[in-house]
Structure formats: C-alpha cells, structure tokens
Symmetry: none
Subunit: 358 residues, 2 copies
C-alpha cells in the first residue's frame, strides 16, 4: 500500500513508524439522520444505532446492540470493518470511546468510555440546539488534562462515527462563512444534493450575523465537530502527535479551529497534526478535501491511503470503489497506520472478507 501526500511532506507520518497509536473514537447521534435520504451510514430505521454498533465491532469484533447479530450487513458495510481488520492485524495500543451524546450505549466492558453528560442534538433544519460553548469547554479541559495512554512514544488517532455528520459539517463551515458549496463529501455515490442542500439552507436560516461562533454552531453543528475542535486546542499544550481520522468532517473540525483562532487573534501550532483519509475521499469528484484544508490559515499535513477493494470479489465491498461509501470510523487513518506498520493490502482484504463470511 502507498500513501499519497495531499498536503505537506511525508515526514510527519514517517516519524510515526514504530510508534504506538492510541485510537480514540467519538460517537454521537445528531437527529439530522432522521431526515429521509440524508445518509446511508447504517441500516434504515436503525441509523441511530450506527455509532453504537461501530464501536462494538471495532472493540470486540461483535455486534451486540442489533437483534440480528448473524445477519450479513446489507447494502454498504460500515468502514468499521476496515478499522477492525487493521486492529486485528496490527493492534492499536489502546482504544478509547468518547460518548458525545449516544442514544444507545455500546455493550462493552473493559474499554474506557469517557462520558461528558451530553445529549444527542436535534436535526439541524429545526435548529440543532447543540450546547456548543459547553461542549467546547468540556473538550478543552479534557484535552488539557489528557495524559494519553502511555504518556510517551504514542500518537493519537481521532476518529468518529456520526451518521449525517457530513451534512452538519458542511452547514457548520458555511455558517462560519467558508465558501464550501461543492467541497463536502457524502456517504452516497450520487450525493443527495437536493435533500442535503435543502436541509442546510433551512439550517442556515436559524443563524444571523450578530451571533458569535458558538451561537452559530449551536444551530447547525454537531457535538463531534465542536468537541474535537476543543479537544485539539486543549491537546496543543502537549507534545502528542495527532491524526485526524477522516475526510471532510475532520476538515471542518480544522475550519472551526481556524475560526476560533482568528476570532481570538490567537496562534495555533498545527505542526503536530495531520489528517489521514481514504483514496475514496481523495478521488471523490463531488468534494474536495484539499481545497477545504487549504482554507485554514495554518498549514496541515494530509495523507490518503491508496487502499481499495480492486482485488476483492465481495460485491458489498466493491461498492466502496464505486463511491457508495468513502470514510468513517477512522478507516483512512487506520489504513495509513497499517501502511507504516507494513501490513499488506491483501491481508486487510482477507481479514475484512472473513468478517462478512461469518
């Protein structure tokens, strides 16, 4: 497998060879997913369970919060399969979960689940009512006090599972006056732009120019976007290297940071941060991760794995190559992590196929 430099040089990733990765997975529900046709990240009518079962599968290899455990996933299988396969082949040193407002808690023991007393947010077209400043403050404190897993010799991968998250991400970037009309990705091949844009336009009606950043984000954002912005700013006083694991949602986290820093006339040291994503995001014609990242006033390293399912015969997996799913649950960063740990594409595909053939 190879890694494409989207921005910056390969030095950041190369410096992580041989080091341990602590995988942090942010989970939340934002009721935007209830808008018909907005996402295909999950099983219809059970999309609220997606972050719950994604985390169960990454941690334990089992799906516990769905009755039909043995059923082969229909439609597009979750990118959690990719992350789990990498974890089996070359384990992360640790997995921690962030409960940022889950409707159903994962049924997991022994793994650290951080709770922040946050609720699932409302749909953005009816005002998301995210407690943005409270979420940001909690995240900032969490980041400042975060000791990591080993304190040394590890980097942190920040991943997410938030169904309909690209919609709130695009709305958030627009609310903060970034020109991002055709730059955001979707879980669909043919992005449902009508529904998505209609939702975003309705959402943006709730904000006005007199609102500060957090007031705007309260209306149109989700807990993950704001939490990770705060967490990264809190962590920036440490020396931890951070990988933002994802595509355009994670780019939005950086745009939020950019807006906060500019408003506060602060300085942000971005040298310890990189974004890692998939080939499917990099090559997506309906979005532009590179342009999004270049809107930040700070420089950022960004990478994409060239992993694909060309050599798989599984039709469900092939849908990734057709653009039906592109990223999520840290899949892109997991693939980059696999690459710098000499895990082979063939072995990852075999491992994923073994999950589907249960």
């Amino acid at each position: 497998m190879k890694i494409t430099n989207i921005l910056g040089s390969n030095d950041f990733l190369e410096s992580l060879r041989g080091k341990q990765a602590n995988f942090i997975l942010a989970l939340c529900n934002a009721k935007t997913y209830e808008i018909k046709g907005i996402t295909q990240a999950g099983i219809p009518n059970k999309i609220h369970l997606t972050p719950t079962i994604d985390s169960e599968f990454v941690c334990t290899g089992q799906i516990r919060s769905l009755e039909d455990i043995a059923q082969t996933p229909k439609g597009v299988p979750s990118p959690a399969l990719i992350t789990r396969a990498v974890h089996v082949l070359k384990p992360f040193c640790n997995i921690e979960l962030l409960n940022l407002g889950l409707e159903v808690l994962p049924q997991i023991d022994y793994f650290k689940i951080h709770n922040f007393n946050l609720q699932a947010s409302e749909a953005i077209n009816t005002n998301a009512r995210v407690k943005a400043f409270e979420v940001f403050q909690k995240a900032l404190d969490f980041g400042k006090n975060y000791e990591g897993y080993n304190n040394k010799d590890e980097y942190i991968i920040l991943a997410e599972s938030v169904p309909s998250g690209t919609t709130s991400a695009k709305a958030s970037a627009m609310a903060l006056d970034y020109e991002v009309q055709n730059l955001f990705s979707s879980s669909f091949k043919k992005a449902q732009n009508d529904i998505k844009n209609k939702t975003i336009n309705e959402a943006l009606k709730h904000i006005n120019k007199n609102m500060d950043i957090f007031e705007k984000l309260s209306c149109v954002s989700d807990n993950m976007l704001i939490f990770y912005a705060g967490f990264i700013l809190g962590l920036s006083s440490h020396e931890h290297k951070i990988i933002l694991a994802g595509g355009t949602q994670m780019a939005c986290v950086l745009l939020i940071i950019n807006s906060i820093i500019n408003t506060m006339q602060g300085v942000f040291n971005s040298t310890n941060i990189a974004l890692c994503t998939t080939k499917w995001i990099l090559e997506d014609k309906n979005s532009d991760i590179k342009k999004l990242l270049q809107m930040c006033d700070f420089k950022i390293n960004a990478y994409a794995s060239d992993f694909d399912f060309k050599n798989s015969s599984n039709k469900a997996l092939k849908m990734y190559d057709e653009g039906e799913a592109k990223e999520g649950v840290g899949a892109g960063a997991s693939l980059c992590y696999a690459t710098i740990n000499n895990i082979k594409q063939k072995d990852i595909i075999e491992q994923i196929e073994s999950f589907l053939n249960l």
Copy 2:
C-alpha cells in the same frame, strides 16, 4: 486461531490487544512427584529438574541443567516448547522467574529471578509441611509492592511449572471442602486415578476440621498455589490486568482465594483477572475447568485457545492432541496472547518443530 469463551465475554481479552505482556513463571518442587506414576511432567528420575529446564528453555531456548542437551526429548515434550515458540514469534515484554523452592536453580543470567527463601515441600501423602502462612504473607507483600515491568500498558501472565501440581491442587481444593472429585486434570491421558486418589486420600488424613485454611494447606498444598493466591490478592490494589495461565491448578488458586475471602468476610474484585488455558484442558473428559471456576463466589473471565497439532507431522507433538499433555508453563495463555497479536497457528507449529529438529 480462535479463542473460546469458557466464561464471560471476549471484552477482557480484546482490551489487551496491542498491549504488552509481562510473563511471570513460578517454579517449585514438591516431592509428591517422587511417588511412582503420579506425573509424566518430565524425564523419569529427573522430574525434579522439570521446572528448572522449563525456565531455561522459555528464557534462552536452551536446556542447560541436563547433561544430554542435544538429545531430542523423549515421550511428551514439555509445553515450555509452546510458550517459547510464542515468545520467539511475538516476544513478551519481560520474563521474570519466581523461585518458590527449587532443588536446582536454572542456569540463567540477565533474567530477574525473585527468591523468597522457600524450600521444596514434602510429598503430600506424608504431610507436605508447606509453610503456608509464611508463603502467603511473602506473596501478599510481593504483590502489594509489585511495580510491574513498565508500570502501565502491560498485563501480567502468571504461569507455573510444578511437577505433580495437579495432585496437590486437587488435594487442596478437597481440603477446603470443594466437591471436586472428577474435576481435576492430569498430565496423563488416562489419569492415574488409583495412584492419584490414593495419594490424595492419604494426604487428607493429615488435616482435621479444627485447622484453619493455612494449616490445612500446609499439609496438602504446594508453594505455587499459596503464593499465587497471595500474590493476586496483593496485586488487587493495583490496576494491572492479570491472566492466570493454566488449567485446573490455576482454578485451584482461585478456589483458595475464594476460601480466604469468605473466611475473612472480605470482598474480592475479580474484574481484572482472567484464566487462559488450552483446548486440551477445555475438551478433557476427565476434568472440568468450567465447573471448577463456577465454584468461586466471584465471576471470572476464562478463555481457551483452539490451537492444536492437527497440522503437525511430529508424533511427539501429536500426543497433545491425544491428551497425553494438556497445559503448563503458561502454554494456554501464550496461545491466547499469540492470537490477540495475530500470530498464526502454522507459524507456531513450525517454530516448535524447529526446536525438536535441532
């Protein structure tokens, strides 16, 4: 390789993926092994050397305390072969030895050997004369002060090499009034029940109802059983996760803990402990590891590796699959450790065969 949940869910083991394992090997001689036909854990007339050479082989890959170094082991090869193979393929972060009364010290440099000034115990049929309370106290202190190898990010595997240890384990459980008649394993395929039961019956004649736990254990137990009970209780004030590496002997350690806790009306937090063993123990028709564990008043996670020698052509190794040897020297836990570190059965078998073809 797969892991069977004997008791509990797979979460305990899954949470250890990617973490380091500190391998602790308890070694002792108990003269019960001198009773003819009681054990086949070693070379006839040299069985007292078994823990010594097991530890030499796990640590260095060499057997030093037997003259005929190059000779291929006759009969059933020690499960130390399995543990060593795993350590070669995916090294433990550290190996420490506990000298709990060895007749012959292993000829090893650079590895930490903890000495506790303990003597080999007598045969249980003539009263073992274990200094049970002294052993327990030393172990408790050792556990309380144990800092581990890295302090964090590691779990502890507690293994043993004690020839005739299943006999003293069964006698100990019976002395503490557990109904375990057909539940204990043996190194033989056809358990030498006549000799074993005769020995145990003779041993139990030395105890009476007025004795406390430690007085009873002094007569019928061995240093390893008591030491590990104390060590685990001492460690329970730490956050270390512990894997008890073995079959019915390790179950007996838990039964001893159970009796101590019940007598003291104490509370024992068993959530950080699991037992890991082999398929040969799990499938043994002459013993029942699950029932033994269920006799504890606390819950315990227990796992068995599905590793076997089906794909080996070596006749000596095949004897494991025939039930002639089942566990010991941490073999089962090593195989579970191998599984969560993505080591393949094929590679373990090849590695073990290479040891035998020297």
